[in-house]
Symmetry: C2
Subunit: 150 residues, 2 copies
DNA sequence: TATTGTTATACTCTATAACTATA
DNA sequence: TATAGTTATAGAGTATAACAATA
């Protein structure tokens, strides 16, 4: 798994300075997430599935909506994760057509470890800034991204 | 192409507040890049290839290094882009084993339009911040990401 | 011998279309 | 009829291993 070179496309894609920096930061962050995933034999999509289901039980269609994917794509995605024992399917109690998906104990365990791992893996980047700068960056990003649900 | 829901995994993956915000911003930015790519029938990887080659001529191996992919992966990637007339291959002048890759005129044209398109597509997000905040955000991101080459 | 690129192979990710079972 | 999920199919993206050509 060779390491990428996030800076280059960032510089070439972005329109202005801020867009450049955002694209650059996005590639750097995604590279970290991909690496954390790869170290656990998880694609970025599987990582997202674990993250989304960390505190939720969702039907296939709702999971597809969260990921921005087609429901037919979910079948294989969930199949593979289920085969690895990371999540489980169960028929919905309220709708005979629907299938709920949720983390298995092993999946929840892995999700928890990944959660911590991502934080540690991002630290070398974030610790380039002093604590006060980190707080300012967080505030600006949160303002830019709008109010969180939850 | 259904729209994703970047906030959720962000909240669930990140370790602390800043990591959360970075992951959230990365997913939001990647969603924009993916959308711009998809509107032009380009995957994120093909978008990166165009961006990287925008002002460069590289051999297959160097391109693979920039992307963080195996050289064998490049063959198919370049094949498909070449088949679409976006880039070209030529034998290296200095090394009989090597193959140079570079944008075709059409590829360069598309890359230029994508460049502008990305800037415009990111604007709704960045313009949530006042101009002074935008400058502060850019400065902080650039400090965090370290000095650019070029 | 080592390196460059391709080929062969296999698996994951993704979408579209057609199907089934339920609502 | 409409919705939930799966299956069938196809194509892109990715890696590993083996190979040919060149250095």
């Amino acid at each position: 798994m060779p390491a990428p070179h996030p800076t280059e496309h960032a510089r070439a894609i972005g329109q202005d300075g801020l867009a450049d920096a955002l694209v650059h930061a996005a590639f750097a962050t995604m590279a970290v997430l991909s690496k954390v995933g790869a170290e656990n034999d998880l694609s970025l999509t599987q990582l997202r599935v674990l993250a989304i289901l960390r505190d939720r039980r969702l039907r296939m269609t709702a999971l597809a909506d969260y990921l921005g994917l087609e429901k037919s794509t979910m079948t294989g995605l969930v199949d593979r994760a289920e085969r690895r024992g990371l999540l489980e399917r169960a028929p919905s109690a309220s709708d005979g057509r629907a299938v709920d998906v949720f983390l298995s104990p092993e999946g929840a365990d892995l999700a928890g470890r990944l959660y911590a791992h991502v934080g540690r893996s991002l630290a070398p980047m974030t610790s380039e800034l002093a604590p006060a700068e980190q707080r300012r960056l967080q505030t600006l990003l949160e303002r830019m991204l709008g109010p969180h649900e939850s």
